[in-house]
Symmetry: C2
Subunit: 181 residues, 2 copies
């Protein structure tokens, strides 16, 4: 048995939503005492680092009600039930940016907020883009922009880019470029 | 007015917790229709990339009930009310790893899950560590480990490291090293 393990004593479902569920788990802590954990259940998500043949990164500007402001991110979206992450990433890329690709490279997956949520993001890279048409969800509105790596780095510094997966993506591109040069 | 803006029509508080709150906002979408947004309110957090004088990165292994497993992360913790992020980062570093520092460099802040939560993490770097004593919260149990950058990169590949802020931190260190060499 893992000496850090917390056994669930009781689970209370607080909310079942459209995207997330919330539950409270009463747990037995490693020292035998009890504690409570607030847990957001999320279906998981995909994100894509799309690079044009000019070497620009394709970003989307989207209003995020959780932040009550517009932020800049790489194209991303939540997984539909039973959907393969790779297919989901191709779909989200095309819906949000209009670009199609048959050639997505899986980079890594990561948990975004393990302290309170189980959201896992699958991150993909492509520099093989074909232009197409955007096709957004009914409740989705966004602008597409294409910026150079240098511009993207400036946007991190001035916090126009303020999103973890997007900052990761830009670091990844910088590293890829420095390995190639 | 931002053409992507979503105006709040009505906010329903679903849950007020120890760490997070959950609210549902009915919004007016840019096309005039209404939609609903599920929003987790979080106090924000800090994380530290701590590097020993041997060049190893200090990591913590912690059971995360949201994932129902033990994962490896850089030292991190949520902000207390009214707490300065820098002070919070020094406190969390010492509580979790035993290492003290007076010398934290702010790297960047990022939103971890802008699709459904307002959590903002302030990320710091230090390679100026003094050994001390750990002092964890009552409901916090963790192991400390120190690994080389190469080992940390292997841990990302085999997903022993599976956390966004930690993967970001390791990429950051690799980039820093390649700039210095």
């Amino acid at each position: 048995m893992d000496h850090l393990y917390e056994k669930t004593i009781k689970t209370t479902e607080v909310y079942k939503g459209k995207i997330i569920n919330l539950e409270i788990q009463e747990v037995e802590l490693p020292n035998g005492k009890t504690g409570s954990r607030e847990i957001v259940k999320h279906p998981g998500a995909v994100a894509v680092v799309p690079v044009t043949k000019e070497g620009n990164i394709v970003l989307v500007k989207q209003f995020r009600k959780a932040l009550n402001k517009t932020i800049v991110e790489i194209p991303a979206g939540k997984l539909e039930i039973g959907e393969d992450p790779l297919q989901s990433a191709m779909r989200e890329l095309e819906e949000e940016t209009g670009y199609k690709t048959e050639n997505l490279e899986f980079l890594l997956s990561f948990y975004t907020s393990p302290g309170f949520a189980d959201e896992l993001i699958y991150l993909y890279f492509t520099d093989d883009l074909q232009a197409g048409m955007t096709n957004m969800d009914d409740d989705e509105f966004l602008d597409v922009l294409e910026v150079s790596l240098e511009e993207a780095e400036r946007m991190i510094k001035d916090q126009t880019i303020h999103d973890a997966k997007t900052a990761y993506a830009i670091n990844y591109l910088r590293m890829k470029e420095s390995l190639q040069s």
